[in-house]
């Protein structure tokens, strides 16, 4: 996990607007990168850079909403703040439904924008941490043998060792050994934590 400084990505097809927004964000201390079109952004950006997106919703070619969907499809993404010149209710509803952090109208008030960017960056940080944690859990899960996997599934469903041994056709002792190994590999300090981790990783009870 990289700990770079977060970057605000501004995508707008109008140069003067891009420049102005960038200046405003910089004056508040953010790092900014500007792009003239969604395509330009998609081609050059590294998904690992933390930050958020400020998008004009109506641009020729790929528009803001479509970009958001494209990013979601990639599995990566940044929190999105939409800007629009036209305050259109259906459009704003659609934007919020598709998961935008905020939907602001132009000319945009500096405090509204900066507040939205701030919360977006924090959300991004939180999201990244969560993703990183999830990735870690899944990594750990991947180190389990298939047998250990089975045991994990049974353990987190609340079954006693005895029952698990009976279900899997081994002795309780073996189960205890597996359980200890699973706990170690998963780095869980308690059963409750293991359950939580398993749930996070999407392990289904049998």
């Amino acid at each position: 996990m990289t700990s770079e400084a977060p970057v605000v990505f501004v995508v707008d097809d109008e140069e003067s607007v891009r420049k102005a927004l960038a200046r405003l964000l910089r004056s508040a201390g953010f790092n900014v990168a500007v792009f003239g079109s969604p395509q330009e952004f998609l081609h050059t950006q590294n998904p690992d850079t933390p930050g958020c997106l400020v998008l004009d919703i109506a641009m020729p070619g790929l528009d803001g909403l479509e970009l958001q969907q494209a990013l979601a499809a990639r599995g990566a993404g940044w929190p999105v703040i939409f800007l629009t010149g036209r305050a259109d209710i259906p459009m704003s509803v659609q934007a919020m439904k598709s998961g935008a952090v905020d939907f602001l109208t132009k000319p945009v008030n500096d405090e509204s924008l900066l507040a939205a960017v701030q919360s977006a960056i924090e959300k991004d940080r939180t999201d990244r941490r969560a993703r990183a944690e999830l990735a870690e859990v899944q990594r750990r899960l991947a180190t389990l043998t298939p047998r250990e996997r089975e045991v994990l599934a049974q353990v987190v469903s609340g079954k006693l060792n005895k029952q698990i041994a009976a279900d899997l056709g081994t002795v309780e002792k073996t189960i205890k050994v597996h359980r200890a190994r699973v706990m170690a590999k998963m780095n869980a300090q308690s059963l409750a934590e293991l359950v939580r981790l398993a749930e996070r990783a999407g392990v289904r009870p049998p």
Partner: protein, 608 residues
Amino acid sequence: MSWVTIIWSMTAATCLTLAGVHLLVWLRARDSWINVLFTVCAVAAAAHAGFELGMMRATTTEQYGAALRWSHLPGAVLVVALVWFARLYLRAGRLWLAWLVCGLRTLALALNFVFSPNLNFREITSLRQIPWWGETVSIPIGMTNPWTLIGQLSSLLLLIFVVDASITAWRRGDRRRALAMGGTLSLGIIAAAGQAALLVWGILPLPYIVSLVFLSIVLVMGYELSRDVLRAAQLSRELRASEERMSLAATAADLGMWEWDIVRDEVWATDQSRIRLDLGESERMNFNRFLQWLHADDREAVTQALAKAMNGGGEYDSEYRMVCPDGQVRWVAAAGRVEFDAGHKPIRLRGISMDITRRKQAELQVQQQRDELAHLSRVALLGELSGSLAHELNQPLTAILSNAQAAQRFLAHDGADLNELREILKDIVADDRRAGEVIHRLRQLFKKGATQRQRLEVNELVREGLKLVQSELVNKNVELHTELALELPAISGDRVQLQQVLLNLIANACNAMAEVGASNRKLVVRTRFSVGEGVRVTVSDRGSGIPAGNLERIFEPFFTTRPEGLGLGLAVCRTIIGAHHGKLWAENQAERGASFHFTLPTAKGGQA
């Protein structure tokens, strides 16, 4: 009273009467020489008749000789006058021959007075009395004078002269004159000279009756001349009738007729024109006065039109305003033709003028209404595009606000970068100006105004128009392609109205593609030039096209397929393009969709 006296007296009297009449005619029209010559002929004939009577009444040879001698005087005068009369009347005859005849006859006359008793006889020995017409008359017996041949020669030459002149006249086409006058004169000369010769040479024992021949000649001459007078009277009547007809026609059509004598600078005009201009019957008008009545703005154009007519083709055509004395302004259309002299200098301009005030007012009204309609349609169109227009203003405003707020924040820090602030302010100013431009352009479009003609670049017009609607296109997910020809000649037109047409077509195209899937909305704007039609602008869409039967109907007023549409847009567009001397039409494309084309002639009249 004897017949001879009566007849010869009447001959003389007739001749004198005719002479008197034609003398009067000549006194009235001094340049009518033919009448003078006739008078001279007639008087000479009368005198000759008198002398002939004297001869017939002579009792002694001396009396006869003297009478015959003096009769040569009127005879010669008659011959000379006849020569010139014939020449003038037939407008032909060799000049040298004429002079020869005159010269010979004069010589004969001179010799006549030299010889005694006279030219014809060396000596008259006696007089014979013969009965004739119930009377006894004297005829001479004596020796012929050989010099009489000169007199006879001159008569022969006169005959030749007359015949030659008649033939020339006949060949020229003046057949009637040639035959009548030429024939009569010839016969008369033959008869007179023949009879005289026969008498002189002693062949024919008859008295001189040459006067009767002379009388016939005089009568024929008189008749011919009076024919001319009668014809002149008839022509005069016909002319008057024709003038009255013209005058009636002109009055009925409210036409004024005028004539400008360029050389003397005098203008004649019919009552119509005079009444309108409050001119007195006898007041004279000249060119400058006419110019004064013209409206100041039209003077130049009229002067130019006149110059063109006088220097070149001779046809004059113009429309102008006249300011009447009572302050009223009237529109007049004038047409005329210039008459040139032999050296192609203009000497006269004749023409008519017609009051077209009512027509002009109607035309102006129509133009005004057209402009108003175009304006209304334009405002409606702009209403439809209002979202897009607001967006155009919004962009610069957004940039300005964010820039300004950024600047405020920079200043709040210590050690703000002044260069950065300068950049910010520069950008703010630029964006503000941009917004001002958009407002200015909008104001132009919203303005109601009379049509203005300017030189315009079509590509620039298209780009400006597209800028106004680009946000609309983005909003509706329409993909725009432009194919603008590199070199286009300029056109002459009203910027606002032509942009209205373009915007209307683009708005229609967007509406046509509303049902089409978002990824297939393609709009193409193309400009092209061809010599035949001028500049052509094409707007193509990918909608469902236009039903074949409606390709022309869509341009009808109030025809619309949209529930909220008024149906006037395309009708107004056609009117606008028509007023620019172009054409607007629609076609369906082969694959999908419709395309609208309009053509505009190039600025210097490049359309074929």
